[in-house]
């Protein structure tokens, strides 16, 4: 994938037109007089924005947008044992690292969505948010290096300001470029790349920590390991520049106006006035995600204590959801594109997830099996869920709608992460699993009642 990306970059560098090096977010329309006749390599299959090939090449860079932020998001999970030991913190305060990411995002990525739709525009927004991600990770690593836990929390906070809004931007880019063709597949693919980020993290951080132990020990070693994560954030930052450039170029050539409604007065109504379907999607989303992500955060220790797995095995099983969804998401996305029926796909995925949690809870079957199946189920649910938003809201509200959905999801993740840590400390993992299963039942239930059904299908018909 790296080579694909560099290939695109190379073409980008070889681009002959001097006009291409204009400021990325200049006044809209200053280039509109330029002839839309493309010359030289600019007109080749790969560079002509009217050709699918160009779209897919840009998609590759687009996928790398949030690679860094996903890589770093799960740094704590990959190093849970080391963090609790080196920094001498409880599981409760360890989980607070996730809460510090999620809490601000309860509001911030909603704001992020609005900023994208109305103030900064998509391109500048993406760059700014990627900047926050990089800065946050640097502060986080510094906190670990100096053994200042509060500084680490600050780092996670800054990281969070950027992280989720960057995803909103990525989703909005995807809708802008692919809404009329293969949106489910594209979402699946982006999801897959995010998961690749998490997977690489889960598998790289442990060996990296061991390697760094040659140079230092304890929290200093932890800090150095985390600095490596920051390098991936820088790479993502570079990608936001690249995508902004291509987006601007295609807009000029295809004579589209950027969807930025800065001239219109800001109205609160536009920010919260969505169809019932959007809110229901939010509830569905949150009830499902809380049973997957907080669980993965605690999974490693759970597998070690209940199933007697070695730390490496436990970490492997824990990251299996990510690995599988990385492969399966685009495939399922493609299937859903072909068949439609997003809701049916999603309901099946939820039932399967419920089965996985039950298996983990009541049996001693090797955790690799339920976690693998959960990975498949998660891919189905995620690639069916997110595109539905784009189908039921108008284009100018896309950013805001994704912002709200992520905000609600973060609210859920923040609350449930804290609650999960407390449940484990007080009542153990068995009760935790029961708790997750109840959530899944609620979710399944909320996706089925007649109102939901009707409003969603109405919305879909109205497309």
């Amino acid at each position: 994938m790296e080579s694909d990306e560099s290939e695109v970059r190379e073409r980008h560098n070889r681009m002959p037109e001097t006009g291409e090096s204009d400021p990325l977010i200049g006044g809209v329309g200053q280039d509109e007089t330029e002839a839309d006749e493309l010359k030289g390599c600019g007109a080749s299959l790969a560079c002509d924005p009217r050709r699918p090939l160009h779209k897919y090449l840009v998609l590759i860079i687009m996928c790398f947008l949030s690679f860094g932020s996903y890589f770093c998001y799960d740094n704590p999970a990959a190093l849970e044992v080391q963090m609790e030991r080196d920094l001498e913190i409880t599981t409760g305060s360890f989980m607070s690292l996730y809460a510090w990411y999620s809490w601000p995002n309860v509001v911030l990525c909603w704001c992020g969505g609005i900023l994208i739709d109305r103030v900064l525009g998509l391109r500048l927004g993406a760059i700014v948010f990627a900047g926050f991600v990089t800065g946050g990770q640097v502060v986080f690593a510094l906190g670990a290096y100096l053994n200042k836990f509060w500084l680490m929390e600050v780092g996670r906070f800054i990281f969070g300001i950027g992280g989720e809004s960057l995803c909103v931007a990525q989703n909005t880019y995807a809708v802008g470029w692919f809404k009329d063709s293969t949106l489910n597949t594209v979402f699946g693919l982006q999801l897959s790349f995010s998961r690749v980020g998490s997977t690489v993290n889960m598998n790289v951080m442990q060996p990296l920590y061991v390697y760094m132990e040659r140079y230092s020990t304890g929290y200093k070693c932890l800090g150095l390991t985390l600095f490596v994560g920051a390098a991936f954030c820088v790479m993502s930052l570079l990608c936001t520049f690249a995508v902004a450039y291509f987006d601007k170029r295609s807009e000029r050539i295809l004579r589209k106006k950027e969807v930025i409604a800065a001239a219109e007065p800001m109205r609160l109504k536009d920010m919260i006035d969505f169809q019932l379907g959007v809110w229901l999607l939010c509830i569905i989303c949150v009830a499902y995600y809380v049973t997957v992500f907080p669980f993965i955060g605690l999974g490693q220790v759970y597998f070690q204590s209940k199933f007697g797995s070695s730390p490496a095995d436990a970490s492997g099983a824990d990251s299996l959801v990510y690995i599988i969804s990385a492969v399966a998401s685009p495939v399922f996305g493609f299937c859903i594109d072909r068949t439609g029926r997003n809701i049916v796909w999603m309901s099946v995925g939820v039932l399967v997830t419920l089965g996985c949690h039950a298996t983990l809870c009541f049996t001693f079957i090797n955790p690799y099996i339920p976690m693998g199946v959960m990975g498949l189920a998660y891919s189905v649910v995620a690639s069916a869920l997110w595109p539905m938003v784009a189908f039921i809201v108008p284009n100018k509200q896309t950013g805001t709608a994704y912002g709200i959905m992520q905000a609600v999801q973060n609210l859920g993740l923040a609350v449930i992460s804290l609650v999960s840590g407390k449940i484990v400390d007080a009542h153990g993992y068995f009760i935790l699993e029961i708790f997750f299963m109840i959530w899944l039942c609620c979710k399944y239930h909320s996706s089925l009642p007649r109102e939901t059904f009707c409003s969603l299908s109405q919305a879909l018909k109205g497309m």
Binding site: E84, R85, T90, T91, L183, N184, V301, Y302, S305, K306, G308, D337, T339, G340, R341, N342, I343, V344, C361, F362, T363, F364, P387, M388, F391, V424, D425, A426, H427, G428, Y429, F430, I431, I434, M437, I438, C441, C442, Y444, H445, L448, P449, R450, F453, C454, S457, L460, K461, M463
Partner: protein, 346 residues
């Protein structure tokens, strides 16, 4: 030491002989007016301190070098008075050892066995909340503020279980995993030391969970492992124990008249920074007559499961049936148009 006697049997203890320092006087200083059906005793014979050079937290992998070991004999020590440390209202008795020529206690340091009794089936008030009843005793063993001899000191306890040979089968030490860690978060493994595998016979047991604690305030974070080792036959010493007072010289020839096995448990796991990090180790176990309780799912959980999972399922079914009926009803109006209300979305 536990005796199961016929009703109306009286103990007859010759205190002068029991407390004497003469082995032959101590022998048989405890008698009963009618002989007991079944008798067993658990003896905590030795405390080991070893230098865990490679941080393996295992007695079998530890250094064999004699200079890395210290052995404290617990069968011949003088316990502090239990009157000050016990609480009769709470059915607690605590035996402490704070002055000893060989163990290097800090000023307030001590070694203690705290016994908790109950006339009903109950659970310990602190982690790991072991279950005990009228037929068993909950014991908290702790090592407070002992100056470790080595920088990498870990401790281990040697225990011997003696039973009158009325039971059949041999003693076994087994561990199993429970699905439910409700009472001891994160700890799934339970260890049972059974005096007999014959469920109809009289028996005795020790039960514990594979966890001990490095701090007075017990939590998941302050927990570490307890390692068990295989049972070994032993022939008891002539040390001054209550077991000697009852069993007498039968202890010298175990196997024919008595069943006697010993094992060790060691405290700590790899990378937990050794005993010296907190100067504290505490471990809980139960000793009982009969067979150990199995971990089972509590009523509370069954309630939570049935309400939390059952109710949504019921609602789902009800909703599903309602929808089917409704669709069938409306489809008969539309002349049997049964097409789905979904639409392909792109």
């Amino acid at each position: 030491m536990v005796f199961h006697t016929p009703l109306g049997s009286h103990p007859m203890i010759n205190c002068t002989n029991l407390l004497s320092h003469n082995v032959s006087s101590v022998e048989n200083s405890i008698r009963f007016s009618q002989p007991p059906f079944y008798t067993f005793a658990v003896m905590f014979t030795k405390l080991y301190e070893y230098n865990d050079v490679d941080d393996k937290a295992s007695l079998t992998l530890a250094s064999k070098n004699e200079s890395d070991w210290k052995v404290y004999d617990l069968s011949d020590v003088e316990w502090d008075s239990a009157n000050d440390t016990s609480n009769v209202q709470l059915n607690q008795v605590e035996f402490r050892l704070s002055k000893n020529g060989t163990i290097n206690f800090h000023e307030h340091g001590y070694l203690s066995f705290k016994l908790q009794l109950s006339n009903v089936t109950d659970r310990g008030s602190i982690l790991p909340h072991l279950e005990f009843s009228a037929n068993s005793t909950l014991i908290d063993f702790s090592l407070n503020d002992i100056e470790p001899t080595f920088p990498n000191s870990r401790f281990a306890l040697e225990m011997t279980l003696v039973t009158s040979n009325k039971s059949t089968g041999t003693q076994t030490l087994t561990n199993y995993r429970s699905i439910d860690d409700e009472h001891s978060p994160g700890v799934f493994e339970v260890v049972d030391w059974l005096a007999s595998s014959d469920l109809k016979a009289s028996a005795a047991y020790l039960q514990w969970k594979s966890v001990c604690y490095k701090k007075d305030v017990r939590s998941v974070q302050t927990s570490t492992d307890v390692v068990k080792y295989d049972l070994e036959s032993t022939n008891a010493t002539t040390n001054m124990t209550v077991a000697l007072a009852y069993f007498g010289n039968k202890l010298l020839t175990p196997g024919t008249l008595l069943m006697m096995r010993a094992t060790n448990v060691s405290f700590g796991q790899s990378k937990d920074h050794f005993y010296a990090s907190t100067n504290y180790s505490a471990w809980s176990f139960t000793i009982g007559y009969g067979f150990p309780p199995k971990e089972r799912i509590s009523i509370l959980i069954i309630l939570v499961i049935s309400i939390g999972l059952g109710l949504p399922v019921l609602l789902m079914l009800a909703g599903g049936i309602y929808m089917c009926v409704k669709r069938r009803a409306s489809s008969s109006f539309n002349g049997g148009d049964l097409t789905s209300s979904y639409q392909q979305i792109n």
